[in-house]
């Protein structure tokens, strides 16, 4: 195949992938800005001819948007804070020490991550119902720890291992103890990984659906994801402009955060795979 033709084909395929990946997101955002008549016209309007913010005001004034947003922030904040502290300590143990029971611990956190949420939610519901913790945000925080904590331990372990042993040893040879070497050398180097893992934990908790859907039935106690899933979205004659505005609002914090950490997380999930 001539080089020029091959080049063109490759670029065209690249363009196709680009369009398929971007178009749904583009369609969400543009729909959110289109006036109602442009949304329901027989021939789609490919961009908003008369952009409007009315759907966004509709969305934030509907139901318990602000209440649910606050709930999401409370739950996610608590989950991230608690799990990062616990996970960091455990990850250091896994990455820097050999000890009896280490293998069992690794097996434990890997298998836990495979437990389907649908399986766990059944006993959690029954147990929480017994202690009247259904419809409580605290109950949700506890259930979120079940998937955020193991993930955070495993990901952080990957980041800590990535730090060259020589750096740490050099610090110790300089006359510092292990703890000092740790704080001086390890912590600054691992900080980006720590931030990345925290952000990814945030995203996971923010996006979670099953636990929140089943455990929180009180409308005032729901999270933003549940709000969005039920937002005018289940009948014909749905106000799609408002739904897409709500969807855009729900996605924005995640997208922004994700752009920051994406490259690190892709690495964290498979860290050590090629070497191992």
């Amino acid at each position: 195949m001539p080089r020029a033709l091959r080049r063109t084909l490759v670029n065209l395929t690249g363009l196709l992938v680009f369009v398929v990946m971007v178009f749904p997101v583009y369609w969400m955002v543009t729909t959110a800005f289109k006036p109602g008549l442009e949304i329901t016209s027989y021939t789609p309007h490919w961009w908003p001819h008369h952009p409007t913010l009315v759907h966004f005001t509709d969305a934030i004034h509907s139901g318990y948007f602000w209440r649910d947003l606050a709930n999401s922030l409370i739950v996610v904040g608590a989950v991230v804070l608690l799990s990062m502290v616990l996970a960091f300590l455990a990850a250091v143990a896994l990455a820097k020490f050999r000890f009896t029971g280490r293998r069992a611990f690794i097996v434990l956190i890997i298998v836990i991550q495979m437990l389907p949420a649908n399986a766990l939610v059944i006993p959690l519901y029954v147990v929480l119902a017994r202690y009247h913790q259904v419809d409580k945000l605290s109950g949700l925080v506890v259930t979120y720890m079940t998937f955020v904590l193991p993930f955070a331990i495993w990901t952080l372990r990957g980041f800590i291992i990535g730090i060259p042993k020589e750096l740490e040893e050099a610090a110790m040879v300089d006359g510092n103890g292990r703890a000092t070497a740790f704080v001086k050398i390890l912590l600054p180097l691992v900080a980006p990984g720590l931030v990345a893992t925290a952000i990814f934990a945030f995203i996971q908790a923010w996006n979670e659906f099953i636990f929140a859907y089943i455990l929180l039935s009180d409308q005032q106690k729901q999270t933003l994801t549940i709000w969005l899933s039920g937002f005018l979205g289940t009948s014909r004659g749905t106000d799609w402009g408002a739904v897409m505005a709500g969807a855009t609002l729900t996605a924005i914090p995640v997208i922004i955060f994700f752009l920051f950490v994406q490259s690190r997380i892709a690495f964290g999930l498979t860290a050590g795979a090629v070497r191992g």
Partner: protein
């Protein structure tokens, strides 16, 4: 783990004293990892141990609404399991889930790998553009993407309906995508694959950049075609990555719930029941928590079998301590 660092740090004041200090240091060092993992272990056991124990116990009990109010199940032995395993519907659900998982995982891996190779071929600018698009799609929350898919396939104004009709794939105006389960699963699959491909593509691409170019060039000079180079050089090097990606995809797709559940307006009919929806319908739909637990356990057992190699690989990775 060596303690040479401490030996250097210890003051040399007589061989015996030094020996004792070393011993103490070693003991202290030995307990550090346990102190570090203790909080995490305590929390995991507390928040997971009990529910998992309870899941198993529930699967041996009759636990309906009455029992939920009375806070006490009724022991019925293996009856939940026998009633599932002899239920024709259960086997349909298992088969449907397996086929669904195979299709989704297969498509995700193949398309992801192809896009990874495409990224390698592309020039700098186009590669950046496509990567940005991948990351954008990857970052979309599942519930957001599901609402978006519902809108794009809307009965009245779905843009996909319009495009498919314009492209002469048939008449999709006022077309109900979920009337036919095969088509409906196609829509569900498109959503899942769209969301999952970026992770695979970007990870495989990162792996591809690690494959030594000299090896590939040498093979090309020897006259190996692109497929042989992939089979004999690239694939073996990337195999651990593929094992992990395949296993994660299987884990995610076999227990998928949110996408089909929400696309089907939160009340999927039995033709759409996958394992997770089946467990949900039995436990929360008709309040048979014991039966639902038994289904969940069978689902978990199936998953553990399929992902055996993944677990082994991850443990191997964990064993490498630096």
């Amino acid at each position: 783990m060596s303690s040479t660092g401490h030996a250097v740090g210890a003051a040399p004041s007589g061989p015996l004293r030094r020996h004792r200090r070393l011993e103490r240091a070693r003991l202290a060092e030995g307990s550090i990892p346990y102190a570090l993992i203790a909080p995490a272990v305590v929390v995991i056991v507390a928040i997971l141990g009990y529910p998992v124990y309870y899941l198993v116990r529930l699967s041996f009990e009759h636990y309906g609404l009455f029992q939920l109010i009375a806070h006490k199940g009724q022991w019925i032995g293996l009856k939940n399991f026998t009633s599932i395993l002899t239920d024709g519907q259960f086997w349909h659900v298992v088969l449907r889930s397996v086929l669904f998982t195979a299709a989704n995982v297969g498509l995700t891996l193949v398309l992801g790998t192809l896009i990874a190779f495409l990224l390698k071929e592309l020039g700098r600018f186009m590669r950046m553009l496509v990567t940005a698009a991948l990351v954008l799609a990857w970052s979309m929350p599942v519930v957001v993407a599901t609402q978006l898919w519902l809108w794009m396939t809307d009965y009245q104004n779905g843009v996909v309906n319009y495009l498919f009709t314009k492209l002469h794939f048939g008449n999709f105006i006022q077309y109900d995508w979920f009337a036919n389960t095969f088509v409906g699963f196609g829509v569900i699959t498109s959503l899942i694959v769209w969301g999952a491909v970026p992770f695979v593509a970007i990870t495989v691409y990162a792996g591809l950049t690690q494959v030594p170019a000299e090896l590939l060039e040498a093979a090309a000079l020897d006259g190996s075609g692109a497929f042989r180079r992939f089979r004999d050089i690239t694939f073996p090097i990337l195999k651990p990555i593929f094992v992990i990606l395949a296993s994660l995809s299987i884990i995610w797709d076999f227990q998928v719930f949110t996408q089909p559940f929400l696309l089907l307006q939160q009340r999927p009919d039995p033709g759409y029941w996958l394992m997770s929806i089946y467990a949900y319908e039995k436990s929360f739909g008709i309040s048979q928590y014991g039966l639902g637990s038994a289904i969940a356990l069978v689902m978990l057992a199936l998953m553990l079998c399929v992902t055996f190699f993944y677990i082994r690989q991850m443990i191997r990775i964990g064993e490498v301590d630096r």
